[in-house]
Symmetry: C2
Subunit: 425 residues, 2 copies
């Protein structure tokens, strides 16, 4: 259940799954069962069909589950369709995780993810609605509980969720979106360039990721001058959210009220470099690394699939190339950060992530004493990367801290027509 300290080892062990130990991906899918979608019994029905080290068996098991869930949502009248559609979305999402992103199967799974997730929102009369968010680097897919492109003077509290290298906007529902809505926040979930399906649009990780996030936050603030804005970032989002507000002029315009990051990191290129198997990250990037990639690809089908996905997200044909691309977005200027921070850190995080989190937390806490760092021990079951093995505890912790720092959240009920599966514009 714990994320391995070394990214390469983690990927190489994606299917190390026996006698009670669990790999990160399996633990992640199981972790979602706390919050809806697939139940533990359904997750194990899939996991029991998987062959260690064979990503195709993973894809087949979860794709079949997605189809059964969607069929049941459409045809089985013995239970409400809302959670069946959500289960189908989770299963399609899990299947996509280890598919070749350029394949037809990947496109079909992605369509199913969006179709079923949105059907679930409609069936459960959620206030969340899908939207396209225009930015200077391209339009981005998101979900929001109220319009963000129209002026509103309501004193609402916005809860913005940003993911990392392995998230779709639908994942952000599980990383706090659903909980925040339930607690009374207005919610915005968005895939930045490189995230979710955006590489299908020709958008990739790098500087545009940060540019887009800054524009979205400035736009939200401009339209909602009286709102409070909480920004939350998970995995790579722990870097993007910090980077978005490390420019004083931008930060002054956004006027962020609180930041939650798991894990807050300041140098994503260094993190990737230290996490990647040494031969792949070797400088200068050259033939040796390219050969090593091919070797590594033969060593583990699952690792090969993961590498293909990261290359696709960064718009490169070479895994070593993601490091300079990540570096292009820049190191976070920690001395410019001035907003209360809740830093969530699992003890099973890579050592470098832990080091950067402690450093940036100390810097911010000196200026913002309401800041807190919570280190999740192994026994809490929240020690994995992004607390995927106990999302409930991470969200309990965030909600508790936000209530202390900001008081109770507010929703702008007046601007929304509830009950139609979305908001009126």
């Amino acid at each position: 259940m714990r994320r391995e300290a070394d990214l390469g080892e983690r990927q190489g062990r994606r299917f190390f799954f026996r006698n009670g130990t669990m790999d990160f991906d399996a633990g992640w899918v199981l972790g979602y069962s706390q919050l809806g979608g697939l139940a533990p019994g359904e997750v194990f029905e899939c996991l029991n069909a998987i062959k260690d080290g064979d990503p195709d068996s993973w894809v087949q098991a979860f794709a079949a589950m997605a189809q059964r869930q969607e069929d049941a949502a459409l045809n089985d009248t013995t239970s409400p369709s809302g959670n069946r559609f959500l289960a189908a979305a989770v299963a399609a999402r899990a299947a996509w995780h280890l598919v070749d992103p350029g394949s037809d199967a990947a496109h079909r799974l992605h369509d199913q993810l969006e179709r079923c997730f949105q059907a679930s929102l409609a069936a459960s009369e959620s206030a969340l609605a899908a939207l396209e968010i225009p930015t200077s680097v391209g339009a981005l897919p998101g979900y929001a509980s109220a319009p963000i492109d129209q002026p509103c003077t309501a004193a609402a509290t916005w809860y913005v969720v940003i993911g990392g290298g392995d998230t779709f906007r639908e994942d952000l529902y599980f990383f706090g979106g659903a909980r925040a809505l339930q607690e009374g926040y207005e919610v915005l979930l968005v895939d930045l360039p490189g995230q979710g399906s955006t590489p299908y649009r020709g958008l990739h990780f790098g500087e545009p990721t940060v540019v887009a996030l800054r524009e979205i936050l400035m736009g939200l603030r401009d339209n909602w001058p009286s709102a409070r804005i909480v920004l939350t970032g998970f995995s790579g989002g722990g870097y993007f959210t910090l980077k978005a507000i490390d420019d004083p002029a931008t930060a002054a315009r956004i006027r962020l009220d609180a930041l939650v990051a798991s894990t807050p990191v300041t140098d994503i290129a260094l993190l990737l470099q230290r996490g990647m198997p040494k031969i792949l990250a070797r400088r200068p990037y050259g033939l040796a690394s390219r050969v090593a990639t091919l070797v590594a690809g033969r060593m583990s089908k699952a690792m090969h699939r993961a590498i293909a996905k990261y290359q696709w997200q960064f718009g490169t044909d070479w895994i070593g190339g993601i490091i300079p691309l990540a570096a292009a977005a820049g190191v976070v200027e920690a001395s410019n950060l001035d907003v209360p921070l809740l830093a969530l850190v699992g003890v099973s995080e890579p050592a470098e992530a832990d080091r950067q989190a402690r450093e940036v937390f100390a810097e911010i806490a000196a200026r913002q004493p309401a800041s807190r760092m919570v280190n999740f021990e192994r026994w809490t079951g929240a020690d994995a990367h992004c607390q995927v093995n106990n999302l409930g505890l991470a969200q309990d912790t965030a909600m508790s801290w936000l209530a202390d720092v900001l008081g109770p959240p507010r929703q702008a009920m007046a601007v929304r027509a509830r009950g139609d599966g979305g908001w009126a514009t």
Copy 2:
């Protein structure tokens, strides 16, 4: 994750837990994580510490988790205490499951279960409050969301949950109690003679179990003449609930509005006899069976512990003796049953349970066409006994059927002072 068809084999394989397959007890605890308490990561933190076939290692792992959770609930201010206390209760309950029920450790774990569960109710401002329910066979421990011992003319809808041979009143919270409260029902959870901690009071399974349930339901109806009453039974409760209303005079006085049973069975003695290893159940009950028990006890520590618990619940020193004691309560007179029934049946149930459920369902459905039988296939993850591997789906199914049959539930808000952790009397 599936319950073995043979009770003996199931018990013998309690710790068969490798490479993705799960035994029933582990699946049960994991199943609760859908509904609160221990998260998947916390459950696996315990399971990873367990040695196959060694019940003491199970007890130690969950007891240690219970203590850590209770300490955190009392001392850790970074998250709300409500779910921490609930997690402590679930862990203490899981530990108790394989402890010698007569030991000091069992008493300490039971005290911790009650203390932490009730602290969780208080912390979350639940309407549920602990109560003692007087009956002619003794006082019984329960939880209720409104007083049941005082007259009330409110048109509330009561949701009564009855468990089986492996449930405490706190388990009933997970078997529908929490969900029903959330959906707008008044909720009553009760341990009948033989269930939960009642053997500590000298109460055991048998005829008194049925007598007590009849009295409680008659008392509820007498005090709440305008209420609708939904009776739900899980595991052995699938028998007790049917037996409680198979006497026409009693049924006429209770005026039950709907019955949900997983699994509805009519002959518990036959079910036990067919499920027990043949040598233990051999008639006449004699020396051969007694010797076989000792042998079986040596064969598997976990089975030995399970046998000790069942003997304790039936008030006998011999496992074979539970069959005539179960038989004493009598076979259900199915021809007298006349209330809409939702029969929940997992495909991994023992064949005899499935057979009895189909038979009694056919009988009732002929008189009550609103009745439904839902058979949960393996892929639904709800195929295990009592749907422990997908409690959410079972509860979705029950709530959906009840809404069709009875319309929306009602709570008697006026008689309750909410927000004080219980109801005012």
